[in-house]
Symmetry: D2
Subunit: 124 residues, 4 copies
Amino acid sequence: MQIRVYYEDTDAGGIVYHANYLNFCERARSEFFFRKEMLPIVDGAHFVVRKMSCDFISSAKFGDVVEVTTQVTQMKGSSFELFHEIYRDEELLFSSTVLLVLVDNGKVKRLTKDIQNLLNSLFH
Amino acid sequence: MQIRVYYEDTDAGGIVYHANYLNFCERARSEFFFRKEMLPIVDGAHFVVRKMSCDFISSAKFGDVVEVTTQVTQMKGSSFELFHEIYRDEELLFSSTVLLVLVDNGKVKRLTKDIQNLLNSLFH
Amino acid sequence: MQIRVYYEDTDAGGIVYHANYLNFCERARSEFFFRKEMLPIVDGAHFVVRKMSCDFISSAKFGDVVEVTTQVTQMKGSSFELFHEIYRDEELLFSSTVLLVLVDNGKVKRLTKDIQNLLNSLFH
Amino acid sequence: MQIRVYYEDTDAGGIVYHANYLNFCERARSEFFFRKEMLPIVDGAHFVVRKMSCDFISSAKFGDVVEVTTQVTQMKGSSFELFHEIYRDEELLFSSTVLLVLVDNGKVKRLTKDIQNLLNSLFH
């Protein structure tokens, strides 16, 4: 998924504000669903980030076009783990491992077999 | 209401990103309710901006503390109008007239007498 | 210009946060420059919004794809005016008239003939 | 540092958008400098997040007041590590370990003894 860096994404340091790389990854995750004409919402339950680790390797700046890649790296009964990388051309700018759970009204829900199949098909 | 300008509020131009002055005004509107230990939500209906005009007079920058003022300038059956100004010390940076309506599930709701009294007391 | 609505664009009211329509318009303005392989920056001077009026007619929600249109409606010695509309399919959600100036270090700069020609060619 | 959750901080899931907890932590870091009447900028160099790990334990929602705590956990020649926690009353919502470096024009700079002393005094 390609993303353009606009003014709103940058800060007074002249580069993309650090938290906005997380937004870019979230867009890539959502886009997988949208491209299947689905929403990433299951019976009113939303996918929620539970843990995340991030490496900020280099910086994108205003006007850059970056590419976000997404891989499923783990799938458990009630959670799954993604690995995102953000590139500008061939240069790696950012990488992140993200653990997601499905939450309904504050409660973690089991991923049914159906959902797991769906995620597998969506993310591979 | 005093608001500090953080990195997230600025852009690569080195100043506060224009749309963020609207956020500052919205915080001031919400804060009136919070300070009464209320939410700006009426039976599930949210206040929604219907019209707005804005003058961007000068710019706030990273680290500035600005002050947002709010006045009620009009109240009708189903809408009310606010006038916000944002100052840095004595210098006017921004002003805006905002027309708000109460919307429930996409439908504009009449402001009951109770709500009107409430708004009057909150905003004066 | 087509824009997808992601989680980051929405708020707890379930719809796009009002100030984010301004971001969408700014993306469309910047994109005109990017598509010419230019930045909307002239010798270190940035285009800055001076005045704006907005009509919020209907709401976009998570997952929607909206389209932003841009027209030049006025061009003066040191400013120009744009008219943006945001549609979801054929439905008008938002319109805005925006007056922009070119600012260098806090000072408004005259738009040279070259810049005016450029803007004319970019925006028509 | 106390932070109020406004509409802009939430998303259509009804809770604070995950990346915004990072903004809250950044505000707390910047505020240490502001309260000393300083900017977190050293001769044009900005502090930049290099690595981060985050636990999202529970969610803040519109109207909540949260508190961000900050501790220095490590200091090296050219980097330092902070540990942030975000609480709503006594409930831990979020924790994060953040590695920061001082960057000037894309290059990591050594933290001088002066800066180290300053950081030590600021953050303890």
